[in-house]
């Protein structure tokens, strides 16, 4: 090849300089700029190799950033770097901020033998500097010895200076672009936060809010997946309530849930109440492999906390490792906090709505109950004459003569059917209206009320067994209504055991405390067939019965209504050994019950006609403490002279005899005017029977000394 003339060489240098100038003014990407520069230099000058080194952050190393050809690419890939101030020409040029030239590299002590560039015979290292600040170096190598002329050196140094400025500009451009991107991202995150804020205050539907939240997170941050978990009622599981995209929808549909405190990041974040972040999920022990999200490489789990309460967690996942910046974490946690408050408010709103719905239901029930009671009362009144009419018809039919006996028999059968139907209607009326009748709560001895009820019902002593905890406190209830409740359950037990070879009813009276409230609980168990587990809830529902058409299915609902009226409760369960147990909870009397015997009459002679039981012992003790004399007899027949007593008190319910028999004896002695009859449960017809003897009064049994003070004439 013909050697170019000096003029031609200078023209080529000017052309190369112009190309480099054009490049550095038009290329803003630093990598592109550097690669174009080395290509132009080699092409324009005909050099074997050119490369650009830039100093690293420490300023101690010049790192190859662009190199000509395959050799350059290989060295860049290897991370080829030379120490500033080291033995290389680049090291020397960057240390001195001065060009270093080796026209025969073999003679140059600073030349570093490079296996990728074996043909190099001349090398020039030109510092890239802006003012006094060295930012790197340009190396130019030739296969010819003494390849560089003074013109080349001048031209290349000029290019190196331009390149340094261009690199600086490109760096500033990159930095500006980065700052701009960061500002744009911040603006987007602020907008996302605003969207979340707007969402939590304007979206009342919980599901809509949660789905909006995951969409905002993914759209604003560019994450692959986000989901919101909420704790279930047990607090043991976090259940996915909203998830991004198809994966989220599929997992929600599957009922995807994670155990609190388990191996998942969500489980850990909720248990520990702070964010869990896995920048490389493969290395994170608590990461839960999810087949729906195979691309996840980073995951963040943020707890949803309101005050001291954790209500769930948000998961955010990215396809990239180390995807979350500190800014992401803090802004997402702020969003999570906002969401937690919104969820809490939504829960409160829902609770309020439920309370309102319950109130509406209660009011509706009350209205229906009132209407039903009036209707039943009306029907009952209309049905009242039926049984009496049937009785008259029976008398008339019996007097018929000359009528076919079969017809008479058929008429009698029809009358029986009519009578049974009327009786059922009256029974329904009694069950429905009974609990709504007079309700005068007072301190009561549950044991006394239960035992009196058992005696009035005539339940044989060998069938029923009592277990009573000693020294039980008084309960508070209307004793007549409470007796009615016991009667319903005892009747139920009697009917349940009527086919048993050895019927057995166990009554246990005990004291229990639930949620700070004390109850006297009466457990009535039987050895009947019991109620199926599936039907246990239905037995408290009106008109549900397992015992056929002759039962209205209203006794147990009436019992429940009576107990609810006094803030008590009733429940039933199957006994392990067979049969049923009904538990009736009556609240313990918490009001004051003055024990001052001074309230009681003093110096009186009392005759108490009663069995030796819990109530008579209380009466004897209280009256004697007030300086009265008390004689107790279970059988009035043992009393020789009733007139020696100032006050005669007769318990209406006696174990061995009917109190009416006692009253007959008292009446014969002319002492009824000083006689008071007491009963735990008083019914009008019974009261009229008692009053017929001319007794002073029929009173509810007093269970406190204050009540006892009324037992005077």
């Amino acid at each position: 090849m013909e050697t170019p003339t000096l003029a031609e060489r200078r023209a080529a240098l000017l052309h190369a300089g112009a190309l480099v100038s054009r490049s550095i003014t038009s290329i803003l990407d630093p990598d592109v700029l550097l690669h174009r520069t080395v290509d132009i230099i080699c092409t324009a000058f005909g050099f074997y190799y050119a490369g650009v080194f830039l100093l690293d952050e420490t300023g101690e190393w010049a790192v190859l950033r662009a190199g000509r050809g395959e050799a350059g690419a290989a060295m860049v890939a290897e991370g080829h770097k030379l120490q500033v101030g080291g033995h290389s020409m680049v090291g020397a040029a960057t240390a001195r901020n001065k060009a270093v030239i080796a026209l025969d590299v073999g003679d140059e002590p600073t030349h570093f033998k490079n296996q990728y560039l074996p043909l190099t015979r001349s090398e020039m290292a030109l510092p890239l500097s802006i003012g006094d600040k060295v930012i790197g170096a340009l190396t130019v190598q030739s296969v010819e010895e003494a390849a560089f002329t003074e013109d080349d050196i001048t031209a290349l140094q000029g290019m190196a200076d331009q390149l340094a400025v261009a690199i600086q500009n490109a760096r500033l451009y990159s930095e500006n672009a980065r700052l701009l991107a960061q500002a744009t991202r911040r603006a987007r995150l602020l907008m996302a936060a605003a969207d979340v804020g707007k969402g939590v205050t304007s979206i009342l539907d919980l599901d809509e809010l949660l789905h909006k939240m995951v969409d905002i997170i993914c759209d604003a941050y560019g994450f692959y997946y986000a989901g919101v978990f909420l704790l279930d009622e047990t607090g043991e599981w976090a259940v996915l309530r909203a998830g991004r995209g198809e994966a989220g929808a599929a997992m929600v549909a599957e009922g995807h849930k994670l155990q609190v405190g388990g191996q998942s990041m969500i489980g850990a974040a909720i248990a520990q109440r702070h964010a869990r972040i896995a920048l490389d999920v493969g290395a994170e022990a608590v990461f839960f492999k999810n087949p729906h999200l195979p691309m996840t490489r980073s995951e963040m789990a943020l707890p949803l906390v309101v005050g001291d309460e954790v209500i769930g967690a948000v998961t955010v996942q990215s396809e990239q490792e180390a995807a979350f910046t500190d800014e992401d974490i803090s802004s997402l946690q702020a969003m999570a906090d906002q969401l937690a408050v919104a969820l809490h408010n939504a829960h409160l709103l829902r609770a309020l709505e439920m309370a309102h719905a319950e109130l509406v239901r209660t009011k509706t029930f009350e209205a229906v109950a009132t209407a039903t009671t009036e209707a039943i009362h009306w029907i009952g009144n209309k049905a009242l004459p039926i049984s009496v009419s049937v009785q008259r018809l029976r008398e008339d039919v019996a007097r018929l003569s000359g009528v076919d006996p079969e017809i008479v028999e058929s008429m009698q059968e029809d009358l029986t059917l009519i009578e049974a139907s009327a009786r059922l209607i009256m029974q329904v009326k009694e069950h429905l209206i009974g609990p709504a009748r007079e309700y005068i709560p007072a301190p009561v001895m549950t044991e006394d009320v239960v035992k009196d009820t058992v005696r009035v019902m005539g339940i044989a002593p060998e069938v029923i067994h009592f277990t009573v905890t000693p020294d039980l406190p008084l309960a508070v209830a209307d004793p007549t209504q409470l007796s009615r409740a016991f009667r319903y359950v005892l009747q139920n037990a009697l009917e349940a055991t009527e086919d048993c070879a050895a019927p057995c009813i166990d009554v246990e009276i005990d004291l229990v405390e639930e949620k700070g409230v004390r109850y006297v609980v009466t457990r009535i168990g039987d050895n009947g067939p019991g109620v199926d587990e599936a039907n246990l809830d239905k037995i408290w529902v009106s008109f549900y019965t397992t015992r056929g058409a002759r039962h209205a299915g209203l006794g147990l609902p009436a019992c429940l209504q009576i107990l609810k009226q006094i803030d008590g409760k009733a429940q039933a369960y199957r006994r392990p050994q067979g049969g049923m147990v009904f538990e009736l909870y009556v609240p313990v009397h918490t009001g004051s019950a003055p024990q001052d015997p001074a309230n009681l009459p003093a110096g009186k002679r009392y005759l108490l006609v009663d069995d030796d039981d819990v109530w008579s012992r209380f009466v004897e003790q209280a009256l004697r403490a007030a300086q009265n004399t008390v004689t107790r007899v279970a059988d009035a027949g043992t009393v020789e002279d009733f007139t020696i007593f100032d006050v005669i008190v007769v318990d209406d319910v006696l174990a061995a005899t009917d109190s009416l028999a006692a009253l007959q004896r008292i009446a014969r002695a002319g002492a009824t005017a000083r006689t008071l009859v007491v009963a735990s449960s008083v019914r009008v017809e019974r009261m009229m029977d008692l009053l017929r003897f001319g007794v002073r009064d029929v009173l509810p049994k007093p269970y406190t000394p204050v009540g006892l003070a009324k037992l005077t004439l």
Partner: protein, 133 residues
Amino acid sequence: MKEEVKVLLVDDEKLVLRSVEKSLVRAGFDVEAVGDVTTALALFKETMASDTPFDIAVLDLNMPNFEGEVDPTAGLQLLSKLLEAQPGFPVIVLTAFDEVERAKDAVRRGARAYFVKGREADLIALIERIIQD
């Protein structure tokens, strides 16, 4: 005792009124069945001076009062007016409510007895006993 006891029966419930009336008539009583308190009081006062005054009254409690409004104490109001007109006149209060306090209230106001509807046979015995007394 008179051969035929004259009973004033007052109840606004027509079926009950007729049923009780039939039972009492069948038992041999002379019964005047009236459906409201105003007519009942007027009839009572009208017969007081006659040769055939009432011997006893059986009154429902819950029915329209003298102002025509349904009132659970309407029977008690009539009771008071009957006793005002004839102190000591025997009255049985008849009602569907078997409430003890209501019964006691009636007795305190001067009723001889309180009776729950639907037991006419017992009612007959009760009337006979009160008349004998």
